[in-house]
């Protein structure tokens, strides 16, 4: 099992969510976050003065997925979350040590 964490543009979230759902990826935890990348946000010009806006709102999606599905999930997020401009976000993949469901006493990745 892997934890796929995608940080994407908020306006692309609905599109990404629908595309994941269409491929059977249902479970996710979503958080509204703020962040910045290599550009350090966006530098606006106001009356000739630079006005940096370094923390930009993003949406963070966390999904626990089977190892075999990781590439597919990454592909879906990339295809649907992309505008081609800086600020499209990042995808992180981490191993999951264990998973347990709160409702039952079982502890098993298959519980997903």
């Amino acid at each position: 099992m892997k934890l796929v964490i995608a940080v994407i543009r908020p306006e692309k979230f609905e599109q990404v969510k629908k595309a994941l759902e269409a491929e059977g990826i249902i479970g996710m935890t979503v958080t509204e976050v703020k962040g910045r990348g290599e550009q350090k946000g966006i530098a606006l010009q106001f009356r000739g003065k630079a006005m940096p806006v370094d923390l930009i709102p993003k949406v963070k999606i966390e999904m626990a997925v089977k190892d075999a599905d990781v590439e597919k999930v990454i592909g879906i997020v990339r295809a649907n979350g992309r505008t081609g401009k800086p600020g499209d976000g990042r995808i992180f993949v981490s191993p999951i040590e264990s998973i347990c469901r709160v409702r039952t006493d079982l502890e098993d990745p298959a519980e997903l």
Binding site: E11, K12, E14, Q15, E32, K34, I42, L44, F46, M51, V53, I56, P57, G87
Partner: protein, 398 residues
């Protein structure tokens, strides 16, 4: 030329009620945009109130209500409020001036619908000044200031033509010039704060009592009639829109309050001419008509973002026609089709069409000029981070 204490007290209160409608529009619109543009949206209404206040004092009032020049515009007699004092017929002239000023302010605030989430504040200030001077003031003069429409016998009790048709169709023209928001039709731009929109709508409904009842310019039976039909039409509009949207899905609270405003916009011109049962029909038809106008706008892919056109423009147009159908001579001295007089309907239709064409075409030209001179909209980056930060340097704490 004797002042009446009761009338004066009543119109003072009505003026304050109407003033509250302008930030009410701001809150209504503020809840409908994305969170990054909330401050901008509310601020635009305050900006409208401030621009119009000064414009009105220096020359706007004189252009609208100064002595008539060829039926087209008022003369500069009252420039700088020269000769507008504490005396008057029933109420002080100064009070009539400020009551009318509150009307002009809300008209411009309604127009901000068209530029939501993408307008450059500096350009809006210039546009607003030009719009109030070149579109609103002449129309107010035509209908209320003794201009050609008044001379022909076209009536508008509290601003169906002057405010709602003019602001609604101007918003449509302005939206065409400024263009769609980035991502319009591609991704979700759902309202971020419905309770705030409901609060703004409530303030509008409340303020509308001052708007319509105050337009009697006296604390009398006509004011009472206007007050009553205003409430009836709002309620009918709210239920009609809610019902129509229920058939297609859920009875949204946003639909309900939008319907109320559609009903209010439609009864505005007619409030001093029709009775309570006519108000039920006027409000119901307005709720349905404006709802289908909104669906039409969305189907056509027009980003008149917050529906000033669908609600105020279409509602005001219908309300203006409705006088020619439902007016009863015993209320406001005008008879409509049902009372057996067809002429008023033709007059109302002519007035509505003329003002529609003038406000749409005139605003289109003004907006094109402002756009060419200084650019109406912000850069794509500024639009992306939102106008709260890019135009005001402020943001909502999360």
């Amino acid at each position: 030329m004797v002042l009446d204490n009761g009338d004066t007290a009543f119109i003072l209160i009505c003026t304050a009620l109407v003033m509250l409608m302008t930030p009410g529009v701001g809150l209504f619109y503020g809840g409908l945009v994305r969170r990054k543009n909330l401050i901008s949206m509310v601020a635009l209404s305050f900006v409208a109130l401030s621009i119009v206040t000064l414009q009105w004092v220096f020359f706007g009032y004189s252009l609208a209500f100064g002595p008539d020049i060829s039926g087209i515009i008022g003369s500069f007699t009252f420039i700088g409020l020269e000769g507008v004092g504490t005396t008057g017929d029933g109420i002080p002239d100064l009070l009539f001036m400020v009551f009318q000023m509150a009307f002009a302010a809300i008209a411009l605030a309604i127009v901000t619908s068209a530029v939501a989430e993408r307008v450059k504040l500096s350009s809006f200030i210039v546009f607003g000044l030009l719009w109030t001077t070149l579109i609103y003031d002449p129309i107010a003069h035509w209908v209320w200031g003794g201009g050609w429409a008044a001379q022909m016998g076209i009536v508008d009790f509290a601003g169906g033509i002057v405010i709602h048709i003019s602001a609604g169709f101007s918003a449509l023209a302005l939206a065409l010039v400024i263009g769609k928001r980035v991502g319009f039709g591609q991704y979700s731009m759902d309202p971020h704060n419905i309770p705030m929109t409901l609060l703004g709508g409530a303030l509008l409904w409340f303020g509308w009592f001052g708007f319509n009842a105050g337009s009697a310019l006296a604390a009398d039976g006509l004011a009472a009639n206007a007050f009553v039909v205003t409430n009836i039409s709002a309620a009918s509009g709210a239920l009609a829109w809610m019902g129509a949207s229920w058939v297609r899905g859920k009875p949204s609270s946003l639909g309900m309050i939008s319907g109320a405003i559609a009903g209010l916009g439609a009864i505005t011109p007619a409030a001093g001419f029709v009775g309570p049962l006519a108000a039920v029909v006027i409000g119901t038809v307005s709720g349905l008509l404006c709802y289908y106008a909104l669906l039409f706008r969305i189907r056509k892919g027009l980003d008149e973002s917050l529906d000033a056109w669908a609600i105020h423009g279409v509602g005001g147009f219908w309300g203006t026609l409705s006088i020619g159908i439902f007016a009863i001579a015993s209320i406001g001295g005008v008879s409509g089709l049902i009372a057996g007089a067809g002429e008023q309907f033709l007059l109302q239709a002519f007035g509505a069409v003329a003002v529609t064409v003038f406000s749409f075409a005139g605003t289109y030209v003004i907006a094109r000029c402002v756009d060419a001179l200084m650019g109406l909209r912000v850069s794509e980056d500024e639009e992306y981070v939102g106008l709260d930060i890019s135009q005001h340097g402020e943001s909502i704490q999360v």
